[in-house]
Amino acid sequence: MRYILKRLLTTIPIIIGVSFLLYVMLNIVPGDPVALMMGEHINPDTIERVRARMNLDDPLLLRFVKYLLDALHGDFGYSYKLKREVSTLIWQAFPNTLILAVSGALVSWIIGIPAGIISAVKKNTWIDYAVMTFALIGVSMPVFWAGLLGQYFFGLKLQWLPISGFDGLNIKYIIMPAIVLGWSAAATIARLTRSSLLEVMSSDYIRTAREKGLLRHQVVIKHALKNAFLPVITVMTIQVASLLSGAVITETIFGIPGIGRIAVSAIQTRDMPLLQGSVMFATVLIILGNLLADILYGFIDPRIKYH
């Protein structure tokens, strides 16, 4: 537990660093945010007043510190465009993104892990090539392209699945975005499972297991997989990041009201507080994902001992 706490503490400087970087990037953009936010008909006095209200004339660093302090209280400011509290918007969107990301991750495992295992076991046979190529097709198709084709065939032509929209845990709506999203992450998982399994399979203890009289598939299942999954777990980390990135596009195409949609529309409308808030949030998710992976790793691998 102390370890978990410690790891949690180490994420703090990262979170601060991330938010600072983001804050600076978003605030050095030329142009007056107020003028941008208020549209055409506004008179200059109002602009002045709003600037003052938003402390826009303070030095950047001071503003950042204020922002951070407010953020600590859960106050991420107001969305220019959607006229709501950023935190509220994000919390409303979060479950949708979570459902999408988790189901995307599941798909990537359902495709990636068996693909990796099969192609490791059948290394350098045509099955290996076929399976790995299948996994690769996912990364090699632009997500939006795959999404459009999916909508056309499975939504419009075959009418199997809804074209767009989201309805909580209603699986009908999740399947297509999850496949589009998950498939593109599957190749990473497949690759890693494959090479990790190959590495494990050539290790001495696998030979020991074979020598004990276990059959090849028993060895794979009983001895190799658990070891092979250790590095795969670490990749879950990177996966959180790539799933969130993918979600940006997937949510746009399938009209899922998630964090990614928020971020994209915030960019298009220059809604800085919303953009800052949503990217921050996604980033914190990724950091927590890392943490989770580390902790999980620690529990699966009895050797864990850091130097």
Binding site: L36, H41, Q151
Partner: protein, 527 residues
């Protein structure tokens, strides 16, 4: 007027979009962005909500394609004093807000005063700033608006500083929406956002709002004009045009706005199922190219004239818009009060254009920057055509894409490069075009930088003229000078606005001005 042609789209009605309310009769319209708020003090772009949730004193209704009429709204009658300065509105008795309160003059006063109140940071003040005392109110020098008086519960008197012909028409725009004082005070900044707190007197009541997903409006049972003929109006947020088209074809949404993807027009027109279901209407609006005269060499009128002649408008209209519209040679589009059909035609003549350029000292052309918003594929295509047209007279066009806010931010400073855009009428009056673009301050803030003292004077004069004929004549003269003598603007065309609706959607009409945002009150769903 809405800027550009990339507005939201609207559609009508099916019932299975949301499973939970399957028994209710719904009309589902797609929009490509979440409007954020229903409060017209806080938005200048998304009017679908106010148009359906609130009422105005006066409504402008579509009587025929491209034709509107001002009809009583919350005000049953109104009169204007002879000097054109005092307007008296007599409110309808028994009109209820959705919280059961009756609409009173105090609510109207409150609403208009709120728009002008600096604390509101209202965005649509320009429909009210001619009211006397408005300036003082806006500057924080007064606590109330002097020019608006509550005579009694059902009578309101508004005094202007100077006569302003289109004042009532302006109040009929969404900006004139009337709110319930009590509700607004209770809701604070949640007004227009929180369905439980947002109260209007319109035919629909805000019921559910899932940001970036959908907004559900319920028919208001006690609407003074009678309950709508279906149960729910759903605005579904569909950011992608292609998705919207598929949703439409699969019956999940009820209207397809062809502005979202004009390339679909031939498909719908040739499809047996849909071709009968296309609803079309002219847009009281004009597509144009703004020429920023402060950017050299556009200061030279010969150069501007050359550019006017170098663009093959006819081809553009035919190829990009499948001929759905007509060429315009001025600023005021057909359908607008004061439209001048006798303006001379601007010819497509690249040779003459070249000669003019040579005369101006640019025989080899020059570099020309065109700005546009990102994420407007249609504008981009037009710009690419402009790019290739101008290449034929040696002008080298760069297309610079800016996101929406930067685009408008820079435009306000007068430094935005030339751009292609469109304007359609908020209210049916030349003022909504001429003043909007060419009054001195707007000429800068729209990055025209057009200077002509004589014309400036005429624009101001025309505004307060009370003689209609004289006014129209002045506007037509102004228009001719700006477009044909000074070549400060390149008129392109007016476009029809096409919608496709599901077969069970009846009585769907295109708003007189061609907007995507309109009232869906009169629609019927017959499944």
């Amino acid at each position: 007027g809405s800027n550009g042609d990339e507005g939201a789209s609207s559609t009508s009605s099916s019932s299975e979009a949301t499973g939970s309310t399957a028994e209710k009769v719904q009309f589902v319209v797609p929009y490509d962005e979440d409007p954020g708020t229903a409060d017209v003090a806080k938005t200048t772009e998304f009017y679908a909500l106010p148009l359906n949730m609130f009422d105005r004193l006066v409504e402008s209704v579509t009587v025929a394609p491209g034709k509107s009429e001002l009809v009583p709204g919350l005000a049953e009658t109104w009169e204007v004093s002879d000097d054109g300065l005092v307007y008296t509105f007599h409110l309808r008795k028994g009109a209820l807000f959705q919280n059961g309160d009756e609409v009173k003059a105090e609510d109207v006063y409150f609403t208009f005063d709120r728009m002008l109140d600096p604390a509101t940071e209202g965005l649509n003040t320009d429909f009210f700033d001619m009211i006397s005392g408005a300036e003082a109110r806006m500057n924080g020098e007064a606590d109330s608006t002097e020019g608006i008086k509550i005579v009694d519960d059902y009578t309101l008197e508004i005094t202007l500083d100077e006569p302003f012909g289109p004042f009532v028409a302006g109040l009929a725009t969404p900006a004139g929406s009337v709110y319930c004082k009590k509700a607004v005070l209770e809701a604070g900044d949640q007004f227009g956002i929180d369905p439980a707190l947002t109260v209007g007197s319109g035919p629909f009541k805000l019921a559910e709002w899932t940001v970036n997903d959908k907004i559900v409006l319920e028919a208001f049972d006690n609407y003074w004009g009678g309950r709508a003929q279906y149960d729910e109006l759903v605005l579904k947020i569909v950011p992608d045009a292609e998705t919207a088209r598929m949703l439409f074809e699969s019956g999940e949404i009820d209207v397809f706005n062809c502005d979202m993807a004009r390339s679909q027009i031939p498909y719908f027109e040739s499809n047996d199922k849909w071709k009968e279901l296309i609803v079309s209407g002219p847009r009281v609006g004009v597509y144009y190219i703004c020429l920023n005269q402060s950017i050299e060499p556009l200061g030279d009128v010969r150069v501007r004239k050359a550019l006017q002649m170098a663009i093959d408008r006819e081809n553009m209209l035919a190829q990009m818009f499948y001929g759905k519209g007509q060429l315009v040679n001025g600023i005021m589009p057909p359908g607008l009060y004061g439209y001048n059909s006798d303006l001379p035609e601007i010819p497509y003549d690249p040779e003459a254009a070249k000669a003019l350029l040579a005369e101006a000292g640019y025989p080899d052309g020059f570099a020309f920057e065109v700005a546009q918003e990102t994420d407007s594929p249609n504008t981009l295509k037009i710009n690419e055509i402009i790019q290739s047209d101008l290449a034929k007279i040696g002008v080298d066009v760069t297309i610079t894409q800016l996101d929406e806010s930067t685009f408008f931010g820079i435009r306000k400073t007068g430094e935005l490069p030339s751009y292609y855009s469109s304007w359609s009428a908020d209210f049916n009056d030349p003022d909504n075009f001429i003043y909007t673009f060419f009054t001195e301050k707007n000429a800068v803030s729209r990055s025209f930088n057009y200077v002509n003292a004589d014309i400036q004077q005429k624009i101001e004069d025309a505004r307060i003229m009370t003689n209609a004929e004289e006014r129209i004549a002045t506007y037509q003269e102004i228009e001719k000078t700006i477009v044909h003598d000074d070549a400060a603007w390149i008129p392109l065309f007016e476009l029809d606005h096409l919608f496709v609706v599901q077969p069970y959607v009846k009585n769907y009409t295109v708003a007189w001005n061609g907007w995507s945002d309109q009232s869906y009150y009169s629609i019927q769903i017959e499944k």
